[in-house]
């Protein structure tokens, strides 16, 4: 009798649970030492069902196909001077921010999902974590490989891993992930797989990759979508993992809710960088931060939390603050970078008239009143030869590590900050969201490596700015400062010579 072909679900069962065994000469608690200390109660690991029935053999087949497609594009970019196809050299600063800030997180995710693939007691979840670990390594490698083409021509990309560990604005994504990987396995799943990948990742990848497509960056679109195809699997894992925890025991609900509140706010603060990129760094813009927030959080998140309400889960605490801040957040973030562009490995620039008109249209309630006058003043100063650089070091939030420049909700003229006391010291946070996180685990956040504190303690190469920038490995005068007057601008203009129409277009 010829064996019958297994159905997808049977095959999936055989390739996951079918490979598992019960330990006999070691106690289960010794084999999985991290499984219980967070207080999460799981009664039946067999109740876990992976939404995508992807088995290892199919996984390798599809991932290989994705790689073939991606490397065809990478080769084509290199052979065809793909860097000439982008809309404007200023666009590349979004790519710099990505490789400095996000690519190292992919590697961190690779490492920690490998940890989960060993330490989660359920076989189905372990297999999913193992695939995700390999995915994340692939993302890290393909991003480095793709962006290496731009590194041949543009500044600020040359030492991104070193910069990720040291630069003030990169401590924002770094500390976010350090926080997650130093938590237990279930908090990590809730933080990265659910709060970040399911609830917020669309806000990172979709506008970023759509932005790349719109700005002629074929390479980034391709690695982005190649990664994002894995991301759909990760986000579905996150949703099902959280649902599984909630269904297993009622006592899990308040623990998971606490993690959702915390990681929503951590993720939202991290996305300030993405929001700023969308509103300020794309020469051709896809959608504003405000619009993306409405589509990907308010609509999609609304459906999600309505679905989870049956378990007693509510919307993340302070989601209302994020909603109320959406007309302010990106402008304030860009302001920070404009103030400190001399200490950043990317450029900023004057906001021109067309850009201001777009911002007025997208942010009718806030831009013209609060931010346009600021940009006009800065332009005036620059034209008088007094371009403003902030030479003081900013106070940082102890939790999100963003310079304290965000304002109170409903009062955009007052900087928001909160104070907590712990062990006889005072700790400052930027918001109620970050203060709650600090107060819940002060022992953890009191240890934060804050770039500004480290400079003052003499741990960052010296007491002067050039010494600190050397310690950052910033190539001074090329990686930092405004785009106007940069070597990159000079190079771009030289490339574009002869490409511009000599005869004015008649229709104009």
């Amino acid at each position: 009798m010829t064996p019958r072909k297994m159905s997808l679900k049977q095959k999936y069962g055989a390739y996951t649970r079918g490979l598992d065994w019960k330990p006999t000469y070691q106690r289960e608690d010794d084999v999985f030492p991290f499984a219980k200390y967070e207080g999460i109660k799981i009664h039946d690991w067999d109740a876990w069902e992976d939404p995508f029935k992807l088995t290892m053999d199919a996984y390798w087949k599809f991932q290989a196909e994705k790689e073939r497609k991606l490397y065809a594009v990478i080769d084509s970019m290199a052979q065809n001077n793909g860097q000439l196809g982008i809309t404007d050299a200023r666009y590349l600063n979004a790519v710099k921010l990505f490789i400095q800030g996000v690519t190292p997180l992919e590697y961190q995710a690779h490492r920690h999902f490998a940890h989960l693939a060993r330490h989660l007691p359920g076989a189905g979840l372990r297999v999913a974590a193992q695939m995700q670990s390999i995915d994340e390594l692939r993302h890290c490698q393909t991003q480095i490989h793709t962006i290496s083409h731009y590194n041949k021509y543009f500044d600020g990309i040359h030492d991104f891993t070193h910069m990720h560990d040291r630069l003030w604005y990169l401590s924002v994504p770094k500390s976010f992930f350090d926080d997650a990987t130093s938590a237990g396995p279930f908090e990590f799943l809730t933080s990265i797989s659910f709060a970040f990948e399911y609830v917020l990742t669309n806000l990172l990848f979709v506008p970023f990759m759509s932005g790349a497509a719109y700005n002629g960056d074929m390479a980034t679109v391709t690695f982005g979508f190649s990664a994002q195809s894995d991301e759909s699997r990760h986000m579905t894992l996150g949703l099902e993992a959280v649902r599984f925890l909630l269904e297993q025991d009622e006592a899990n609900v308040p623990i998971v809710q606490g993690w959702i509140d915390k990681w929503f706010w951590r993720g939202y603060r991290l996305l300030s960088l993405v929001g700023m990129m969308m509103d300020y760094m794309l020469p051709k813009k896809v959608m504003s931060w405000g619009e993306a927030w409405e589509t990907y959080y308010e609509q999609a998140g609304g459906a999600l939390f309505a679905d989870l309400a049956r378990y007693g889960i509510r919307e993340p605490k302070y989601a209302d603050v994020a909603k109320a801040e959406k007309g302010h957040m990106t402008h304030q973030a860009w302001g920070i970078f404009y103030n400190y562009t001399h200490a950043a490995a990317m450029h900023t620039w004057d906001i021109d008239e067309a850009h201001m008109a777009w911002l007025r249209e997208k942010y009718p309630d806030t831009f013209a009143q609060h931010y346009e006058p600021r940009y006009r003043k800065w332009r005036e100063q620059a034209e008088e030869g007094k371009r403003f650089y902030n030479n003081g070091l900013p106070q940082l939030c102890q939790v999100c590590q963003i310079p304290m420049a965000f304002t109170e909700v409903g009062d955009p003229n007052t900087i928001s900050f909160r104070v907590s006391e712990h062990g006889g010291d005072r700790f400052h946070t930027c918001s109620d969201g970050c203060k709650d996180i600090f107060d819940h685990e002060p022992e953890k956040y009191a240890q934060a490596w804050l770039p500004v504190h480290q400079i003052f303690q003499g741990a960052c190469g010296g007491a002067t700015l050039p010494e600190v920038l050397d310690w950052y490995h910033i190539n001074q005068g090329a990686d930092n400062m405004d785009y106007a007057g940069s070597p990159e601008e000079e190079q771009w203009n030289r490339w574009m010579e002869g490409r511009r129409p000599v005869v004015p277009v008649a229709a104009e």
Binding site: A58, G211, M235
Partner: protein, 89 residues
């Protein structure tokens, strides 16, 4: 309220066929084009049928090939040999 589900698909040859199949098989689905991708929204539930995509591609399409074309989704997923369903429980 019927909660919306959605899926975003790459604008590729396979992707176009998948979007077409979804729109044909889910009368309430609407498509929103964005640079390089198409977001399909549908109230409550959305099904991607393998035979429907295969017919449009002119070759046999395995529902697991969705992994080569998908960018993002909103909703829970159920997958079997002939289809992929996105839904809210």
């Amino acid at each position: 309220m019927i909660k919306p589900v959605s899926i975003s698909i790459q604008n590729t040859q396979d992707g176009f066929a998948i979007v077409e199949a979804i729109l044909a098989d889910n009368p309430e689905a609407t498509s929103n084009p964005l640079p390089a991708m198409t977001k399909v929204d549908c109230p409550g539930r959305l099904v991607i049928r393998a035979d429907s995509v295969s017919e449009r591609l002119g070759r046999e399409w395995d529902p697991q090939e969705i992994h080569l074309s998908v960018i993002s989704l909103s909703g829970s997923v159920d997958e079997d040999d002939g289809s992929l369903i996105i839904f809210w429980r």
